[in-house]
C-alpha cells in the first residue's frame, strides 16, 4: 500500500519531468542505429530469403546439410532438432515456459536496444502520436539491457552466446557453428521476420470473421453467432476508455493500454457446394482482410476452409465441425477435437483394452459410402491396424435400405463372436434391431453418439446391453460448476439455451480469445496469436463440454479423448460410464 502511494506520487511528478529532459532516452538508440546501418552494408541484402527461412525453420543449411550446435556447454545437438523455430517459434516472438523465457528475435526486437519500460513506438502502423506522458523519464529507464544488435554482434551471439552487453546467454540457447555465408542468410531472414503487423489490424481496431455454411440449421447457426457476438460486445464495452488511455495514459501501462483494440466481427456466409466456397472466401478476404477467423460452423467437411486458411495464412480458431482435417503439418487451424475420426479410434482402443477380439471374432464395420460414418470408420481402421493383424470386414453400403435381414444374414456368422462398428446416423438407427434377429444375438455393437446426434432412445431395451456408444464429451453431471457458470452467463446476457454444446464451445472460445489477445501485448502477428493460444492453460473454468481441453506447441486438437457409455433400460434412461476418458 505504501509502495502504491509512492508510485502514484511518482506518476504525477514524472509528467513534469519529461519537460525538463526531453528525448534523452533515445539518444543511445540513434547512435546505435548509425552503427547498424554501417554493418548492414557488410552483408548483401540480395540473399535468398528462403535459404534463411530454411535455417530458421528446419535447421537446414543452404547446401542441405545441418549445422553443429551445443547446448548446456557440452551436449552436441542436431540443428534439425534444435532449429531456431523450436523455441523462438514461427513468429519469432518467443515463448515462456516455466521459468524459462525465450526472448523475441523478430526484426523489430533484435535491431533496437532492449530496455525496461520501453515506450518507443514499435510499428509503422501505429499512427497515433505518443504523447509525452508516455515517455519514460530517463532515471526510471534503468540501464539498457542490451544495445541494438548489429549484424556483427548478432552473428557473435549466435556463435558464442555473448550478447553486445557482454552478458552470457543461458546454456539452453544452443551455440551454432555457422559460417559467414549461412549467417548472413539467417540474419537477412530475421530482418524480415514479424516486421509488419498482420492484415486486419489498425491502430484502433482488430477485425475477425466467422464462417457459416449453407445447410446449418438456424438454431445451430444462431447458437454459435449469439455467443460469439456477445463476447465481442462484452469486450468492446470494456475498452471504451482504452483508446484514450493508450494515447495519454501512464507510461508503465503503455504496453497493456496500447494493446487494446475494438474488435470487429464479420459473418462470412458460404453458399452452394463445398467446391464453390473457395471463391467466396477469396472474395471476402480481399474485400475485408481479417486477422483471424473465430469459430465457424458447418454440417459438412471443413477441408476446403482448412486449405484456404493454410494458403492464405489466416488462423481459424475452434470451428464447430465433426469432420476436421487431420494433419500434423498444418499450422493455421485449431480444432476442438479430431471429431468422428476420434470416436472411431476410441472404439478400436476400447476393444483392444478389453480384449474382446479372439480367434473366432469377426469385426464388421458398416457405413454409408461418402457419409460422415466413413470418417469414423477411417478412425477405427487407422487405429486398429497398430494393434492387431486381424482385419475388419468393411461394408460400404449405398443407403440404409440395404440394412435388412437378408443383408445381415449374409454377413453374420452365428458361430463367431461378432463385433459391429455400426457408423450410421440417427436416421438409420432403427435398422440396428435387425442385427440380433439375424443371428447376431451375442454381438457387441459400437455406435457414435455424434452420428446419432445424441438421439439414443431408439435403441430398444433388449439391445442396450449390447450397444456401446462413443461419447466424446463430458458426461451429464460431470462438470456441474462450469455448467452452472455457463448457464448463468447465458441468462445474464439474455441468450436462450438452444444448443448446449455449440454454445459452450463458443463460450470457451470467447475466453481463449480474451486471454490470447491480452498475451499478445500489442504484437499483432497472426502466428503469435496462434502461439499464444497454444500456450493456454491446460485447465480452465470455462471448459464444460469436454473433460479437458489442452494444447501445446504445434498441437492442433484440444480434446484428445472419448468415453464409451451404454444406455440404461427404461424410459428415463441414463448414460452408464463403461470406460474412463480413453486417450490411449
Amino acid at each position: 500500500m505504501k509502495c502504491f502511494t509512492l508510485y502514484s506520487m511518482f506518476l504525477k511528478l514524472l509528467v513534469f519531468q519529461v519537460f525538463i529532459f526531453p528525448d534523452y532516452v533515445f539518444a543511445a538508440d540513434k547512435r546505435q542505429q548509425t552503427q547498424l546501418d554501417k554493418n548492414i552494408s557488410e552483408y548483401s541484402d540480395q540473399r535468398e530469403l528462403s535459404s534463411g527461412e530454411s535455417i530458421y525453420l528446419k535447421g537446414i543449411l543452404s547446401d542441405g546439410s545441418k549445422m553443429n550446435a551445443f547446448v548446456q556447454g557440452d551436449i552436441p545437438v542436431s540443428s534439425q532438432v534444435f532449429s531456431c523455430v523450436l523455441c523462438h517459434r514461427r513468429s519469432g516472438l518467443g515463448t515462456s515456459e516455466g521459468f524459462v523465457v525465450t526472448l523475441p528475435v523478430n526484426s523489430l526486437n533484435l535491431f533496437r536496444s532492449r530496455i525496461l519500460w520501453d515506450t518507443r513506438r514499435r510499428h509503422s502502423q501505429a499512427d497515433s502520436p505518443i504523447v509525452r506522458s508516455r515517455q519514460v523519464p530517463a532515471n526510471l529507464l534503468g540501464k539498457s539491457m542490451r544495445p541494438a544488435y548489429t549484424d556483427k554482434t548478432l552473428a557473435e551471439v549466435i556463435r558464442t552466446g555473448i550478447d553486445p552487453a557482454g552478458r552470457k546467454l543461458s546454456g539452453i540457447m544452443p551455440r551454432y557453428d555457422l559460417d559467414d555465408h549461412e549467417m548472413a542468410l539467417l540474419i537477412n531472414y530475421l530482418k524480415t521476420l514479424s516486421r509488419e503487423f498482420s492484415p486486419g489490424v489498425t491502430s484502433q481496431t482488430l477485425r475477425f470473421a466467422t464462417i457459416v455454411t449453407e445447410g446449418v440449421s438456424k438454431r445451430d447457426r444462431n447458437a454459435m453467432l449469439d455467443v460469439l457476438k456477445m463476447h465481442i460486445n462484452d469486450r468492446n464495452s470494456q475498452t471504451r476508455n482504452q483508446i484514450k488511455r493508450a494515447r495519454v495514459g501512464a507510461f508503465n501501462r503503455r504496453e497493456l493500454d496500447s494493446a487494446y483494440r475494438i474488435l470487429e466481427l464479420s459473418v462470412w456466409k458460404l453458399t452452394g457446394p463445398e467446391d464453390a466456397w473457395r471463391q467466396q472466401l477469396e472474395k471476402y478476404i480481399s474485400n475485408e482482410p481479417v486477422f483471424a477467423v473465430l469459430g465457424g460452423i458447418t454440417d459438412g467437411r471443413w477441408a476446403s476452409i482448412h486449405k484456404f486458411s493454410e494458403e492464405y495464412g489466416v488462423p481459424v480458431v475452434f470451428p464447430v465441425t465433426d469432420q476436421p482435417v487431420l494433419s500434423d503439418k498444418s499450422w493455421n487451424t485449431i480444432y476442438f477435437s479430431k471429431g468422428l475420426f476420434q470416436e472411431g479410434a476410441t472404439a478400436a482402443r476400447y476393444i483392444r483394452r478389453n480384449q474382446y477380439v479372439a480367434d473366432k471374432t469377426r469385426l464388421i464395420q458398416i457405413y454409408i459410402k461418402g457419409s460422415k460414418g466413413e470418417v469414423a470408420a477411417n478412425g477405427f481402421t487407422d487405429t486398429w491396424r497398430h494393434y492387431s493383424s486381424k482385419v475388419e470386414y468393411n461394408y460400404e453400403i449405398q443407403d440404409a435400405d440395404q440394412l435388412n435381414d437378408e443383408f445381415y444374414k449374409t454377413i453374420i456368422d452365428p458361430e463367431s463372436d461378432n463385433i459391429f462398428l455400426f457408423w450410421i446416423t440417427d436416421k438409420e438407427i432403427l435398422s440396428i434391431k435387425n442385427i440380433m434377429r439375424s443371428g447376431g444375438a451375442t454381438a457387441r455393437i459400437f455406435v457414435s453418439s455424434s452420428l446419432l446426434q445424441d438421439n439414443l432412445y431408439p435403441i430398444s431395451d433388449e439391445l442396450r446391453d449390447s450397444v456401446y456408444i462413443t461419447y466424446p464429451y463430458s458426461l451429464p453431471g460431470e462438470k456441474k460448476r462450469t455448467n452452472t457458470s455457463l448457464k448463468t452467463w447465458l441468462g445474464i446476457k439474455g441468450i436462450t439455451l438452444t444448443n448446449y454444446k455449440i454454445q459452450s464451445q463458443m463460450y470457451y472460445l470467447g475466453w481463449v480469445l480474451s486471454d490470447a489477445l491480452a498475451g499478445l501485448k500489442g504484437e499483432f502477428y497472426r502466428d503469435y496469436f496462434l502461439e499464444r493460444i497454444e500456450m493456454m492453460k491446460d485447465q480452465s473454468h470455462t471448459v464444460s463440454t469436454y473433460p479437458r481441453l489442452s494444447l501445446g506447441p504445434n498441437q492442433r486438437y484440444a480434446s484428445k479423448g472419448c468415453y464409451i457409455v451404454q444406455l440404461s433400460k427404461g424410459k428415463d434412461a441414463k448414460l452408464i460410464k463403461k470406460s474412463n476418458w480413453i486417450i490411449h
Partner: protein
C-alpha cells in the same frame, strides 16, 4: 503563487526525483517484479539468474505408486518394475511438444547415456510424459527417434490419473505443462533414496551426479 516560483518548484522536485532514488528500485523486489510483468517488459535477468545457478540437489525418499505405464513400444508395465531396484535409475519428466526445457533435458540424457558405455547395461533411463493425452506411444516413439535414444531409455505415458500420481510421488506436480520445470532424479541400485536435482544440467553434470549417487544408499 507566481509562475516563476512554480517553475522553480517543479525543477526542484524533478531534481529530487532524478537523483534521490535509484532507477527502478523504488519498490520492494517482489513488487518491482510484479510491475515488470504487468508492463509487459519481461526482465529476463531473474530467469537467467535461476538458470545460471548451479543445479540444486536434495536427497529424498519417494514411494513409487502402483501404476502401469505404457512405453514408446506400447508395452504396458508396472512403474515399480520399470524402476528396477537392481539397477541405477535416472528419471525425468518431459512432454514431446515442449519448446524449451524438455529438448535440452532429452538431448542431455541421450548424451549422458552414450557416455555411460558399458555401465549402460546396469542403468535404466526413464522419461515420463506430463502430457499423456497428446503423448501416445507412437508419438513418444517418434520423439525418441528424433533425439536418438538408445535401448534402455524408456519413454512412458499413461492415464492422466496415473501420471498425476507419479508426479505427486516425485513431488513434481505440474498441473499446467507450460509451467514445467527441470527435474532429474537419480537412484543407486538397492537404494530407496533418490537424489533430486533441480535445474538444467550439462552431460558432465549428469555424469557427476550419477557417479555420486552411490553415496546415498
Amino acid at each position: 503563487m507566481n509562475n516563476n516560483i512554480k517553475k522553480l518548484l517543479i525543477i526542484i522536485i524533478s531534481f529530487f526525483v532524478n537523483y534521490s532514488l535509484p532507477s527502478t528500485a523504488w519498490c520492494s523486489d517482489e513488487k518491482s517484479k510484479h510491475a515488470h510483468v504487468n508492463s509487459g517488459q519481461v526482465d529476463h535477468s531473474s530467469h537467467m539468474a535461476m538458470l545460471e545457478k548451479k543445479p540444486q540437489r536434495t536427497v529424498e525418499h519417494y514411494v513409487i505408486p502402483q501404476v502401469d505405464l505404457v512405453n514408446q513400444d506400447g508395452v504396458e508395465q508396472s512403474l515399480e518394475k520399470i524402476l528396477d531396484l537392481e539397477k541405477f535409475v535416472v528419471v525425468d519428466f518431459i512432454f514431446t511438444t515442449c519448446t524449451t526445457i524438455c529438448p535440452v533435458l532429452s538431448a542431455g540424457l541421450v548424451e549422458f547415456h552414450k557416455g555411460l558405455e558399458d555401465r549402460a547395461n546396469n542403468t535404466v533411463l526413464v522419461s515420463i510424459s506430463i502430457d499423456p493425452e497428446h503423448d501416445r506411444p507412437e508419438v513418444l516413439k517418434a520423439y525418441g527417434r528424433k533425439y536418438g535414444i538408445r535401448s534402455g531409455h524408456e519413454l512412458l505415458t499413461g492415464s492422466r490419473q496415473d501420471i498425476y500420481s507419479v508426479m505427486n510421488a516425485f513431488d513434481a506436480v505440474m498441473p499446467n505443462k507450460m509451467t514445467h520445470y527441470p527435474l532429474t532424479f537419480f537412484r543407486a541400485p538397492g537404494s530407496k533414496k533418490w537424489v533430486r536435482v533441480f535445474g538444467m544440467m550439462s552431460a558432465a553434470d549428469l555424469m557427476k551426479e550419477y557417479k555420486n549417487v552411490t553415496k546415498y544408499l
